[in-house]
């Protein structure tokens, strides 16, 4: 029983933002400690940004993460506009908000699908990703690309939402609302999902505060923070929406927060489409003065923060970026410890630096006998637990 086993997981993950490396210390079935090693995804973006001019940086920061590829440019243009005191046209603010919320929908659906896959419900994966496709189609219609939309530019947006885009978008939202009803029902009513997710990977309010988690991870632990409401940017102060907060802090609460946020995002987009005024979509910027500015955005995973300092030339001399996962990943240290190995896959995924561990993961006995456990085995363990539970419940 007291064999201490180390499970290295990673570093390659096909689904993650960063290929991370986790080292799980196991005693029996329990995880007793966890090491997190990151840096496999370091591309030197902050340094690269200091060699590009202000317009180019928007494209660069878009490529930090493919899933929140509007949040980073959004935070960056907020920082530039804060620096240069630029008034952005009203219509551009609404378009930015619509794009950001569409992104939240696609990101949450993506997480929901992956979470389903980890606990052995591949049906959830397929359904969630099926309903993600129409949103990507809308992105393609409005921006010209399925991902990496390149909509943000300092002073406005690059493309307008045309009259003929609005009715297909509204239709997609109607369908999505129905799909969200289905997901909500499936998650809340399903006894197996409840058994797998309730009470697993708990992050209490106190712990969440100590580890400075942000976004849905914090809101599921009862911390009422949301940059959209607390420090409005874009057109968020002109629309009405609720900040979803759950108290439990377990993975079930995190799932609920994300599903309920889908409804709020749909509401926000509908309001924006109705209220959007006509007019210009960008302000021409002549020069960017010396100074410094900050931009904050509520990305799908939490607060995304950009700081830009300029010395009056056409390049930033310092560009600091803090992505939400930076705070959230560390909280795995609390959430995963004390759980079983079969829950580790879903626990590490719950903060949404989606964890899947398809590849290499080996269990190495401390001294002599080596046993190999691939990433699939870990997922299989998790899936088998669901099967076992199903049988016990007589389903």
């Amino acid at each position: 029983m007291s064999h201490k086993v180390i499970i290295p997981i990673g570093p390659y993950h096909p689904l993650q933002e960063e290929p991370e490396f986790f080292r799980l210390y196991i005693e029996g079935e329990r995880v007793i400690d966890i090491d997190i090693v990151i840096g496999y995804n370091h591309r030197g973006i902050e340094e690269l940004s200091e060699h590009k001019h202000f317009d180019q940086v928007a494209y660069l920061v878009e490529r930090i993460c493919g899933i929140c590829s509007t949040s980073h440019p959004f935070a960056y243009v907020n920082a530039i506009e804060d620096l240069a005191h630029i008034q952005v046209p009203e219509r551009a603010l609404y378009i930015r908000t619509i794009i950001a919320e569409m992104e939240r929908i696609h990101s949450h659906l993506l997480w929901l699908g992956l979470a389903g896959h980890f606990i052995g419900y591949n049906t959830v994966w397929m359904w969630a990703w099926r309903y993600r496709e129409p949103i990507l189609d809308c992105f393609e219609m409005i921006t010209g690309n399925r991902n990496h939309y390149a909509m943000m530019k300092p002073g406005g947006v690059r493309r307008d939402i045309l009259e003929e885009h609005i009715s297909p978008l509204k239709k997609t939202l109607d369908e999505l609302n129905k799909a969200t009803d289905m997901f909500y029902g499936a998650v809340v009513d399903d006894p197996v999902i409840k058994a797998r997710l309730k009470g697993i990977g708990i992050l209490t309010k106190e712990q969440a505060r100590n580890w400075c988690v942000v976004g849905p991870t914090a809101r599921a632990s009862g911390i009422d923070i949301d940059v959209r409401r607390d420090d409005p940017y874009g057109a968020y102060d002109r629309v009405d929406f609720n900040v979803i907060v759950e108290k439990e802090g377990d993975i079930f609460a995190k799932t609920l927060v994300r599903i309920k946020e889908l409804y709020e995002s749909i509401r926000i987009i509908r309001q924006c489409l109705d209220k959007m005024p006509k007019g210009e979509i960008e302000t021409k910027i002549k020069e960017i003065p010396a100074g410094e500015g900050i931009g904050r955005v509520e990305a799908p995973r939490g607060e995304c923060f950009h700081y830009v300092r300029s010395d009056g030339t056409n390049r930033p001399i310092r560009h600091k970026i803090r992505a939400p996962s930076y705070m959230n990943v560390a909280s795995n240290k609390i959430a995963a410890v004390g759980g079983t190995i079969s829950d580790a896959a879903i626990t590490l995924a719950a903060v949404d630096p989606c964890y899947c561990c398809t590849e290499r993961c080996s269990v190495i006995r401390k001294k002599d006998n080596q046993k190999l456990l691939t990433g699939w085995d870990l997922i299989k363990l998790s899936q088998e637990k669901t099967e076992k539970l199903k049988k016990e419940m007589g389903l």
């Binding site: 993950h13 689904l15 591309r43 490529r63 990703w129 099926r130 496709e133 990496h148 590849e359 691939t374």
Partner: protein, 143 residues
């Protein structure tokens, strides 16, 4: 075409290795498995280990930490093995060419058979790329 290659082109098992991507090509690769594109009907699935795979699919720009690992992965793969570079980063390092942490192109580390460019390439483009690869292998004698 020998028997080995003929078998290889039938249903390609893909091992997906991400060397510091932005995650976008990766979700588009996964998108291929979901109902709209569903490449599983052609026998293409993601393999759990590179030792079981017929093709190594690489996304992202290699950095100092991942470059050596991607080389190791290729060495572990049973040969013949296709290498598919997906996305502009894997094809030619995209905008990270000047980065201090990007030592070389992917094709300087391992031999690449097919380049699918785009940021990210559409799932249709990826399917078209695989089809071209199979045609190319089918028409060549030696490979």
């Amino acid at each position: 075409m020998n028997l080995k290659l003929k078998a290889l082109t039938k249903s390609i098992w893909v091992f997906h290795a991400a060397c510091s991507p932005c995650n976008n090509c990766d979700i588009e690769v996964l998108d291929l498995l979901t109902p709209r594109y569903d490449v599983e009907r052609f026998g293409i699935i993601l393999a759990g280990s590179v030792r079981h795979a017929d093709a190594l699919l690489v996304t992202g720009v290699p950095n100092y930490k991942t470059a050596q690992r991607i080389k190791k992965l290729y060495e572990q793969a049973p040969k013949p093995c296709f290498v598919i570079a997906v996305g502009s980063c894997a094809c030619g390092r995209n905008m990270f060419r000047e980065s201090y942490n990007s030592p070389c192109n992917l094709d300087e580390i391992i031999p690449v058979d097919i380049y699918i460019s785009g940021c990210p390439p559409k799932p249709e483009a990826m399917i078209a790329g695989i089809v071209k690869l199979i045609k190319k292998v089918g028409s060549s004698k030696g490979y």
